[in-house]
Symmetry: C2
Subunit: 139 residues, 2 copies
């Protein structure tokens, strides 16, 4: 079993738990929409940056942000730093969704830490952060 695939299980489990909690709480966004929504920063994020971080093309990100905007989770505002760009920002409903996601993420992570033990969990985090240096071209 290669390390990449071993990384897949926690990732998938976390995403499934977060999505289930979102649905439970009445949020209607899809997985693909959620992946973008979770990456919108506190002061807004450009479409292109969302696309890079989520691993999709700009076109796909545009499409998904359109859905999220129609559903009322985000809004587009001009980017004061560049007239070509627009910032995607969370609406109140978007913030509520992200808040639930963060809460569930913390819960799941606590379960994992309990399973691994504090020390091993901390080591895991450090190793993953270092691995990110060579696996995330957009960090």
């Amino acid at each position: 079993m290669n390390l990449g695939l071993l990384c897949y299980f926690p990732y998938r489990a976390m995403e499934a738990r977060v999505m289930a909690a979102g649905e439970e709480a009445g949020f209607t966004f899809t997985i693909a929409q959620g992946r973008l929504l979770a990456r919108v920063g506190p002061d807004g994020t450009r479409i292109g940056d969302l696309a890079e971080q989520a691993g999709v093309t700009k076109q796909t990100a545009t499409f998904l942000v359109n859905q999220l905007e129609k559903a009322g989770y985000v809004e587009r505002v001009p980017d004061p730093a560049d007239a070509r760009a627009r910032l995607v920002r969370l609406s109140e409903a978007g913030w509520a969704g992200v808040a639930i996601a963060r809460k569930v993420e913390a819960e799941v992570e606590a379960e994992w830490v309990a399973h691994l033990g504090e020390a091993d969990a901390a080591a895991l985090r450090r190793a993953l952060e270092r691995l990110r240096e060579v696996t995330d071209p957009y960090q």
Copy 2:
């Protein structure tokens, strides 16, 4: 940054490298097809098991296996243990594709080990394997 998301970067990087190598070598399967192909065991695997491991429904797996079968990467054979079931088995071309994937996986993993150091990489693997116990319902 939550642990689930930290797991996403290596997973995505590994998949991208493997897919790129496959394309380079003239293989034509898509990402979704590749995810199934990579999970076909040496003696064949049932559609339902492929679906569970890849995280899609049986219907989707049926669809993807149809594509893979048309493309000549797999074949369906009766499961001697259960007349309802059929085993998906790799064809010669399928084996060739998987062989390349395994080779690239090993190369990428070697890069990661070089970056992390032997000891930390081994610890990472152990932690991920233990995490799998609570995040992979189908192990």
